[in-house]
Amino acid sequence: MLNTLRKVPEKLIDENNVRLDRRGVNDLRPVKIEAGVLVNADGSAYIEQGKNKILAAVYGPKELHPKHLALPDRAILRCRYHMAPFSVQERKSPAPSRREMELSKVIRESLEPSIFLEYYPRTSIDLFIEVLQADGGTRCAGITVASLALADAGIPMRDLVAACAAGKVEGKLVLDLTDLEDKGGEADLPLAWMPTLNSVTLLQMDGMLTTDEFEQAVNIAIEGCKQIYKLQKEALKAKYVAVREEAEE
């Protein structure tokens, strides 16, 4: 059935600051993360965040051919962010769009600071992010799950990278926007956070914010990232903890 004729509803946030999906303005959508889900990849992970369903896989490090693409003193990270044709309301052509190319670049740049690339010169680490279902904030969820896939592959990292978006909807600053909120709102600010170095590795914004609102939104996004970071750690440990509990009973 055609779902494409849905319009943005009248109000996205009601008088009690409750959003359409019953969340408060500072609430994350429900998140489920799992590491090590694919058999063939060196590392993999899967995330569900609200209606987002995203899979990430890592291959490498392995020697890069053709050699002239390789760097003599470190590995290169190659990243492909891609949306499945059925992931969005109106079928998307499988060919890479300009948006996917830009996102592939910024996602790669958000993860590079976390990896010890200098340990593996002349190699490449290939990262694939597939969005199976999209509902806003896919680049952030993609970074979250990609970081986990890299750790799952046993690639040495400085830290995990957690990502979450904040924004402004109907005059209020909110955390973790859905697609409707992004389209109907005044600003969207995706951010990726690496706690150990207290650092922001992805920062984008489109919309309109005063400098004060901008700084507040950055902090709101970071708070969201902190929650996601905890969930990432749990997901990494999960299968080992389960095995240990079962074995030592």
Binding site: R99, S104, K105, V200, L203, T210, E215, V218
Partner: protein, 265 residues
Amino acid sequence: MSSTIVARVKQRQIAQLISLGKRLDGRGLTDYREVQVETGVIERAEGSARVLLGKTEVMVGVKIEVGEPFPDVPNEGVLTVNAELVPLASPTFEPGPPDENSIELARIVDRGIRESKAIALEELCVEPGKKVFVVFVDVYVLNHDGNLIDASAIAALAALLNTKMCKYEVKEGEIKIKPGYSPLPIRNYPIAVTFAKISDKLVVDPWLDEEQVMDARLTITMEKDGKICAVQKGGYGYFTTQQISEAAKIAQEKTQELRKHLVKG
């Protein structure tokens, strides 16, 4: 993608100077290079501009054609921005379809114009749902000496301010050209300010050698009232929250300064 390698000695020199608050070309950390703007350089285009930022040279041409609106905004004209990193501009630019750098550049310039609602797109509707004017902004980088983003953003805005459309009237769904021209309706003046992070310091308007040495870059685009309408972090390093706040403050001052090249008062 190959990159021009800056000799290690020079890299260290640049980094050391910056940690002392100085730059190799004598500028202060928050100084821009000289900006030169020339408009109306391509007569065949509806609007055009050529900008020199130091030695970085960018040309922008604006063409206006008739097309279909997007289904979710049937009463608005369409804006589309494209950027070409022309091979002659740098040994690192390869011929071929747009790569991630030219796509990112185009999308940052696009966001600045779109989110600040610089063009009054609702005034470009001919027949709602059927016919609108499409504004093509083509950014052509002719010489790469660093900071393509800011140079392209200024050039794009200058070209848009220079753009004139034929006067027209709509009769029975058809466009009839009338004598005379009217300017493209422009309501806002977005300006981009790009910072490079070198030696843990923020440096404005990095030139080519500084870009090779930088850890990361942060672009903040502000509209005429000082609101931020686009932000983009690039490069494989990171920024702390203090650096982000600092950049926003400096951008406030710098965007006003740069805007004066295009708009009086």
